[in-house]
Every structure is written in C-alpha cells, then in structure tokens.
C-alpha cells in the first residue's frame, strides 16, 4: 500500500504539525495527483520557531567557528546520502529533468562545503586591527546578528536555497526559513539533513505555509534581528522594512547571487574593541 506523505514543520530539531492543525496539498508537477500534504504554519508556529531559534543561537553562535565548519561539512555528507531522494523530489514536484535536478543537488552540496570552508576564514577577511592614535590596540571583529528570518523566492532553486541558508548560518546566526510556494516538500529531506548533522536544536528552523499570512509577524517580531528576503514581491519587502523599524531590523533584499563574503557579512555586526596597551 502506498502511503501519502504528510510533511511537517521543522522547529527546534523536532517535526511538529502546525499548531493550527492546517495543511494544504501539493500535486505532482502538471498533474492533479496529490504528492503530499504540507503543514501550513501559523503566526504561533512562527513564534515557536523564533523561540527555538533563540535557544539554538546560544549553542550555535557560541561554538567555535571550526566546529560550525565541521557541522556544515557534515550537512554536505548527509545531503549526498540523500541525493536520490532530493533528485526524485525535484523532478516530481518541479517537473525538471534528471540532469537539471542533479545539477541543483550538486550546487546545494557544493554550497554546504563552500561555506563549511568559509566558516572559520571569513573572520580573517573581514576583521581588522585598526590604526589608532593612542596607546590602544583596536580590533574590529564580526559577530552574528542573532536570529535571521529567511524568506525564500517564489522561483525555487535548491542550490540557491542551500547557499542562502549556509551563508547566513556560517557566522553563527540561527535561522527561521519560510520556504516558498513552488517546492515546500523540500522541507522534509532538508530538515532530515539538519537533524542528523549534529546541528544544535533550533539553529535552523523550517516553515511552510502562506507568506502573506506570516510576513507581518516576521516584520514586527522584536526578536528577529535581520531578514534575508528573496521574495520578489516589493510590497512584502516594503511592509517588512516598515514594520522592522521597531527594532531597527536589517532587511536585506537578496534577488541575485552576491559575492560569498558579502553573503556572510550582510548578517554580521562588527564589534570594535579598544584595549589599552600594557607595559
């Protein structure tokens, strides 16, 4: 007997249904046949995800960069192990060819490895010892901003999704990701990768649902420090920016690929420390 999948949310390392009990079906590409039922996150699920992210950030952000790099690399390994699942899912739900699906999975795995390598190196490229006029050492170093909400684009690309997640995560931010409407089913295998890579619970949380319902709460939530917005709807971007003024949220529109160092440093804060020169 074939069992229809119900794909749940990924919050705090667990797979809960939406607290609202709601779900929506998605179909196989160009078909009336149901592929899976997807949990439809409510504002309370978003709140729970942010609370989980707060806990997760305390572990993830305070790990050594080297340890974070190891975990990101582990994600690449786990994703490689799920290659057939990813490829099958992309083909079934997006209707893309085997070659294109494999290309996207390759890009996703490469992104994990790339940012694993970068996780303990970007600091050296972005930090500085500042020339100051006085008997002080002055250093500037990057710190993660905290909790970042990542709003996915409506046109799905697995490689870009992973690249965005890994780049924000590499510096120690925790993430609440709202997946786009085109391929929400990716949540399940992707969450399984995160759940089996020694990632601290809550460091990455994945939600599926209707963005129109969730974005006002993303914009107004005081705990979300920054938003990476890939969604092309300028009205949503405008509203998030407006609501985000309440806690000076950094809202970064991310419609195109950017330089990888910038992809990381857009979500860090630079901290400058002055230290007196001892005798």
């Amino acid at each position: 007997m074939k069992v229809l999948k119900t794909i749940k949310l990924f919050i705090g390392g667990e797979f809960p249904r939406s607290e609202s009990g709601r779900s929506f079906p998605i179909n196989f590409h160009d078909s009336e046949k149901i592929y899976a039922n997807i949990a439809q996150a409510s504002r309370k699920d978003l709140r729970a995800a942010v609370e989980a992210a707060e806990v997760g950030q305390k572990s993830w952000g305070f790990m050594t960069a080297y340890n974070r790099a190891q975990i990101l690399y582990r994600m690449a390994e786990m994703a490689e192990g799920k290659r057939h699942e990813f490829v099958g899912l992309l083909k079934d739900t997006l209707g893309i060819s085997d070659k294109e699906a494999n290309k996207q999975v390759d890009e996703a795995i490469d992104a994990f490895i790339y940012y694993a390598g970068f996780a303990d190196k970007f600091q050296q490229m972005s930090a500085a010892v500042n020339p100051v006029a006085g008997p002080h050492h002055s250093f500037t170093t990057p710190d993660p901003v905290g909790i970042v909400a990542l709003i996915c684009e409506s046109h799905f690309d697995f490689g870009r999704l992973v690249s965005n997640i890994a780049s924000v995560s590499a510096s120690g931010n925790s993430l609440v990701v709202v997946l786009g409407p085109e391929c929400p089913a990716i949540l399940q295998p992707l969450a399984e990768v995160f759940a089996t890579s020694d990632l601290p619970k809550g460091a990455i949380n994945l939600l599926t649902g209707h963005l129109k319902e969730l974005y006002p709460h993303i914009g107004s939530h005081m705990e979300i420090r920054s938003v990476s917005c890939q969604n092309e709807d300028t009205e949503i971007l405008y509203e998030i920016k407006k609501l985000g003024t309440s806690n000076m949220k950094r809202v970064v529109p991310r419609y195109e690929n950017v330089d990888s160092l910038k992809a990381i440093t857009d979500f860090v804060e630079f901290k400058t420390v002055w230290h007196p020169i001892g005798t």
Binding site: V50, S220, M222, E223, S246, N247
Partner: protein
Amino acid sequence: MPAAQIKVPGGGRITIPHYPVDRVGTTERANSFTKRSIKTESKLDALYLALSMVDLTTLEGSDTPGKVRQLCGKALRPMPPAMVEQIEKEIGKKIRPIPSVAAVCVYPSQIATAAKHLRGTSVELASVATAFPSGQLPADLKLEDVKRAIKLGATEIDMVINRDAFLRGDFQTVFDEVVAVKDICSDEAHLKVILETGELQTYDKIRFASWLSMEAGADFIKTSTGKATENATLANTLVMLQAIQDFYDDRGRMVGMKPAGGIRTAKQAIQYLVMVKETLGNEWLTPQWFRFGASVLLNDLLRQIMKQYTGRYFDNHYFSLD
C-alpha cells in the same frame, strides 16, 4: 497510607485523614486546564493578575546584595517607565498601570538588603528558612533561622517540611516543627509551608502532607523549593488545591497556595489561574491567597502584556536578565 493521629499542643489529638487520590483522574483533569483558550481582554486581565501574584525569587549561592537590590527595583516597578512611555506613544493611549509583584523571596542572608528597599512599600519580603532547601538541620537551629529572618524584616517565611521524618512516617515531628515555626511567626509573618512534592513520591502523600501542614497552622502551602528534580506541576498543584478546598469545607479556614519552580511562561501561569478559579473559586484569585514562586516568569508576563498592547512579539533583551 493510613490516617494518622497527631497530638496537638495543649493536649488532645486530631486525625489527619487519608483520602486516596485518583491518579488517572487527577492527571486527566490537570491536562484539561492546558486546553482552555483565553484571549484578548481576558488574557490581558489574567496577565496583570498573574504579575501581581509573583513572588519574585532569587535563591542562588551566587546571590549578592547588588542582585537583590536590582530584584527589589524590578519587583516594585516591573516595567521600566521608559518602556511604558514607548508603548503608550505607539498605541496612542495610556495603558493600565503595571502593578508591583506580590513579594520578593530571598535567602536569610539577603533579608537586610531587601528590607531596606521594600520597607514601606506594598511588596512583601519573603525569606526561606528552616535550612532551606533540604531542611536537614537540628530543630533548634531551624527555629533560630526563622527567628533571625523575622527579626531582620521578613514578613513571610517559606519553611520546608521535614521530609526525612515524613518519609519515615514520623508525622508528629513534621507537625510539631510546623507548629513551632508558626508560633514564632505569630502575627508578624505569614507562614508558607513547602512540601517539596518532588520528594513525596505519590499524590496520596502530597495530599496528606498538605492537610498535615494546614492543621499545623500553615497560611500557605507551597509545592516545591525549586531545587528538586521535579517542581510544581499542574497535577500536584491540583491535588493541593483540592486539599485546600476540603480543608476549608471542614475547618472553615482559608489557606493560600503557592506553586513554585518550573513555571516559566505566561501561558503556564494562565493555566494555573484557570485551575484555581475552577477548583477554589474567585475568592482565591488574589495575591493574598495565590502566588507564583518564580523569576523568569515575570519577563514572559511583561513580554505578553506588551504583545497584547502592540501586537508585536517582544524580545527578552528588552528586559533585565534577573
């Protein structure tokens, strides 16, 4: 466990009754309180009420006078005026004044510091005593602990029962210790008796210990020290609330209730309030008869109050850590 005969001061005996507690029924009923939906104005009322019932507590080896001073400031004025102003400006109207909490609860060594800041205010000063949290000291030293706490300015005493004696079945010793502490408290201090439910093992024993403490003169009964592996739960609080109700029906004396430890969120606090209302009624829904022993709960209550007014979820960073 059987009913017990206890000798009372001045001669005579009383019976501490034993009614077996239906474990399944208690658990089911306690779970039912987590299903209530309290929204909008009712929720705001509940949040304000819960806030006014908090015994803001710090019971750490690392407590310092500085930390206690800060805690007293927060107890008196839980939300900084600047934040109130900001909310009022944002929503364009005045908000209901945020009340002070009910009490500050500290170790005896910090009473003097807390007393300086709380004297003359509406906030009570509670001190744990009787060798909190274990209660493992000779009886005379425990009583000395209580006398000193009251002398230093404590207006409420949170004592622990002698679990060693209780678990050995020596209920007379437990009773006598509570009576002795109550004598010292007299009219000067309210007496809260901590059962440490996590160490009593069964609901039957929790109910029995509740009755024993109330017979001995407890003004409040309290679930736990916050130092055991299991602290307040809805179920063990429910058993104690029912004991309070039965004691009131039998003896005609109201006794207060204080769950402590593990109540960290406004949502949990509201569940407790619903349980009190549905078990004991509105008379107990005041800081005089119901308290929360908590510390981080206060921040979540403030967060939720701000959410109710502004519609925005707030960040812990807007509130002090302790």
